[in-house]
Amino acid sequence: MIWRRPFPWLIALATALFVLLPLWRGSVQLRESLLLAAVYITLASNLNLMIGYAGYVNFGNIVFFGLGGYFCVYLVNDWNWNLVLSALAAGIIVSALAFLFGLGILRLRGAFFALATIGVNEAIKQFVTNFEPWGGATGIYLSLEAYAPLGGPRQALWIVYFMLVAVMALSLVASYAIKNSKLGLGLLAIGENEDAAAILGVPTPRYKAIVYSVSAFLPAVAGGLYFFKSGIIEPGGAFDLTLSIEAIVMVMLGGHGTIMGPAIGALLYEEMRGTLLTIPTFSHFQLVIAGLLLLVIVLFAPGGLMGFIHRHWPASRKFFE
């Protein structure tokens, strides 16, 4: 039984903490920082499906987040759809696009795929910058009326926060479910050795396209909610390659291929980033520090935090997956 294992309870506990902590403290500041953490955890967990499970580096993972944001904000603003519907629609559209696209570019292996994903992000950013219905380079601004159905801006922010926490919890559940499924085993096999996996009967092109598409869905929904909350979306902010890379740092920091690792990495990174940004000397060197951190992890601790814990306390594998 799944409920006998400790891990689902950990997810439930983390979600409960995310919901209750800001309510209990009544602190908007805490809510904002947890909101960012929830977004990061969503991005990192879904990116981990590609990097950790299938061993494919997706440098352009932020493209899902940004496109989801654009579709959702566009539907809310121009078509007056309600938020939940728009966010879900954005997720489905982006996921479908990712599937179609994945069938094409996932024929590329390893390094070539990674190169293509950088190109995807740049090309879509350029496309959106030139796309007039989405406001071109200036983007889309939401009017205050967009928040009216949720009971005004103040209440809307709380509602969006809870939705984002739900998306975060779903990401963790999805990571868990996929890892324990046939798909997950197939992906891990692809990550180990793609040719061997294909020979043993893993339908590699289909599995890769499926996981590419799955890893697009929740980030797109999160992007929709996040940019709805911001009230503005423009190409520079939506397709920010830096955030893409930061998501990779989070995954590697926590430990790729594990379920908790990316989430812990995201939390740690969010805390670190917050601290660095408030110290004036370091605020300009945020990228440098993230880079050095990534370099040190890659060179000396490729398993990340979870890899370190698993190596030193093998018994912990049962509890922290």
Binding site: L294, L295, V298
Partner: protein
Amino acid sequence: MIGVLASIIDGVLVGAVYGLAAMGLTLIWGVMRVINLTHGAIIVFGMFALYFFVSTLGLPAYAAVPFSLVFGFGFGVALYWIAAHRVIDRPILMSLLATFSMNMVLIGIGTALFSTSPYNVPVSLPGLRWQAYTFTGTHIVAAVIAVAIAGLLYLLLYRTRIGKAIRAVAGNRDAAELCGIPTTQVLSFAFGLGIALAFVSGTLIATLFPFTVLSGQAYQVKSFVVTVLGGLGNPAGALLGGITLGLIEGAATPFMPVSWIPIVEFVLFVIALLAFPRGIFSFSRS
């Protein structure tokens, strides 16, 4: 019609410089199977080397070229030991991430030093007039220098001992080691060479266009397109690929707004990757 032709010729001139940049990328891939994601940052540093020479020291612009080659080489050897040496035989994921993290560090330092505002180094040379069109002098000189450096690289790779060693290591590292070639040194030399090419191409690009710390990304994507067109790991193909890309850009510019060019490039990139994974110039399919 003549306008289009002029635009194409100009594109080819600029394309030779793209080819030079891509040669650096493709050389490193060919020798050690590492995709160098610091490429864009190195190009940017090359650009700022020109800025430093002209605006700070007041020297003539093209004096920066030999300096860039030497400095870029030293920088590349250092970079090899920092970021590439430990990841060469590890999964591709690791070398991608290691070079990317160095890219972040370099761009971060660059942003802190120069901010992200645009820079422009004015280089004035007389142009060549042809009917109603003038070919900018800087474009011609940059193309000539790019082709000359490419020729030097050819001589180095095919007419010297170290070049032979580089080709041996690219072919089979273990066998080269058994033949008494110090492969680690050769790898660091090749990495330095690749970085030097990227660095000097940055210097040349800076004589043509204004730039910012973040321009590297766009040129890096161009280099990827060029390497894929020319076949990864094939320096001569990279030069031809660069010229092809310049030709396509030049032919497309009169017909569409400049901001659509990256999308065209990307589409080209994906098509080339899927249809010609070994490059459009690889005639021998052995």
